[in-house]
Symmetry: none
Subunit: 201 residues, 4 copies
DNA sequence: TATGAATGAGCTTTCATTCAT
DNA sequence: CATGAATGAAAGCTCATTCAT
């Protein structure tokens, strides 16, 4: 029974992921309100009713999707020993590579931005998102400062706050301009590095 | 008949504004999809059916709301003779003071960002928004360069592109963080001016 | 005042005709339910509200349109001295030339047929239509019998009843088959005359 | 799963029939436009929304109702060995006994006639109806000719075209005159047989 | 566990009718 | 007489959610 229980738990986790993957894709394409439960169930390959075994309602799915989009902190502390490392680390914060369970697709993040301004639960989740992002930036910047990429005298807190805003802007920009790849994003960030406080160039 | 016609035109324009004001508020609070025609009509103080005398359908209202949020270019060319002037001009681009018929409320702009990625008409209007913003920034930066606030050797184009991203980020930030006022925004932008290419500080 | 009164009556009659003409056309194209009061008012070239000065409501317009479509009896008693005369007289009963104030356009008559089976007032008007048609046929047939075109021994009553059914069928056929002109209709009726009771051929 | 699938198919077919029966009755009483989806759903005994599991929209219901009213051809080739047989076969073409899945209720056929002149899809279905009727008449007449009921020299094509018109007229007549039973219809058709080309009387 | 039939509230939109001007 | 702004009651349709199987 215990073995079966554990097996069930594994299957249940897989089902939840299956549903959240489908939901994320639907939300990205149609928005939280535009995507119907049937869209999601068809996309996930199971029946509409079955979804309600894993999530209480649509709202719960939205929350779960928003929640797992939060940036992961574990791998962020990689060594930052050059400009390139820094830029790459920043880019990873928005291109989804730095996500936890799922890529933080920009178009979906925009949806979260919009939803957060009217859904208090999503707003709270967004705050967690923001905290994660700040922590991550702090880690990256301190690592960069430790290796001398950033000048010792730089105000890392202010720099972090500014960078957060820049990353938000990049998320918007990436979602809106279809063909925007990492190369173009790097150009924007390069400008940033050209005109500042870096110790070694 | 002519007098009546003119009177009607005036009243009609007032009604349209009345509807768009109500719709903007509803959209801001509930989103484009979440706000119902009844929400809008009640908020505007007229019957649901009556709205259809002024707008063909809900989509047309969305378009009109999005369209009138586009930044105005006319007053952007004020003289930029100091850092403060520049920062103020930039802030005006996002706090709605620089709008045309209506303030570009950040939360509403977020809605536009999200909607643009799936509604082609809104996407086109967003492009116009982006062009307006670019033009406006170009004007501001050239004015700043002319008066020596920005160094002659600065690459105004790249600077403009970067600033656009920063402004997008500020819009997101402003919409998400409730108590964020001009003072805090100025702090973020101050950082920008501290670390760059300015000729006179 | 009296002169003005009479003038007003003339204008009023003209307005009513103007409205009924427009309504007939709209009803023909969209059906009684499908045509809106706005369709009719636009087509008539006056305001929606103004129509209510001349007709109590839409129902009254329907009735008036149905009523004036009733075949006219006055000119039916023309001499029937040959087969051709007879066939032409019958054709006139359905092609609208025999109408009173307005042509009995087949597609509109179909609308009346359908409406009559559920609208008791239209049903009563249809009965009047049927009586008129019967009277007309009786007149035509008696005239034909008087001139020897139809045999004296023919049962004019039964023949009339049969012809009425044939005419209903022709109305349906004419409305449904787009290119159906008088020539084709004559062919159908010719068959009728080929195989019957005519005294002189 | 398979058993359930088959069961579902059976239930689904029953539901479709249930809906179409209810819709036919509603359409007959109120017309295609006059009958609302709520009328139909209440009459069918299920919820409004549920109907949309079986039909894409109201238009699809109209089509299905019109389509299944088309005369069936399979049983039309019964032997026609007497006048009575012929008359009965013709009557069966309009009284619904000769229909496929559902009786072709005259009042409903009138609705189709009227609708066909403005709804292109119904128009196409009506053409199929007309073809079916023609085929059926052709079969009946050839059978009658084979058994000598109709003279060998008769032009069966022209006769068929004429009969089609007569049948249309009878449909109109039947729908309009409430108490019209088979007996009266037979009288009208009897007249037809009295005055023509029959070989054996 | 899994299905999808079933519900009913709510959506956008249309339209006959009224009425202030 | 004449207008068309204004109303509100449906209309067709969608969809989150429930539940019998």
């Amino acid at each position: 029974m215990k073995g079966r229980g554990r097996h069930n738990a594994v299957v249940a986790a897989a089902r939840r992921k299956q549903i959240l993957d489908a939901a994320s894709e639907c939300f990205r394409r149609k928005g939280f309100r535009g995507a119907s439960m049937m869209d999601i169930s068809e996309s996930a390959g199971l029946s509409t009713g079955h979804i309600y075994h894993y999530f209480e309602n649509k709202e719960a799915i939205v929350e779960a999707v928003v929640d797992r989009g939060r940036p992961d902190l574990t791998d962020a502390a990689g060594a930052i020993s050059s400009h390139s490392d820094l830029i790459e680390a920043l880019l990873r914060s928005i291109d989804g590579k730095g996500g936890r369970d799922a890529p933080a697709v920009p178009a979906l993040v925009l949806e979260v931005f919009a939803e957060a301004s009217r859904n208090s639960l999503v707003a709270r989740l967004f705050e967690a998102y923001e905290r994660s992002l700040e922590k991550r930036l702090e880690g990256v910047l301190k690592s960069a400062q430790a290796s001398g990429v950033i000048d010792q005298s730089a105000d890392v807190d202010r720099l972090g706050r500014f960078l957060k805003v820049v990353l938000y802007g990049l998320i918007v920009h990436t979602a809106m301009v279809p063909g925007l790849g990492p190369a173009e994003l790097r150009h924007v960030l390069d400008f940033f590095s050209d005109n500042t406080f870096w110790s070694s160039r």
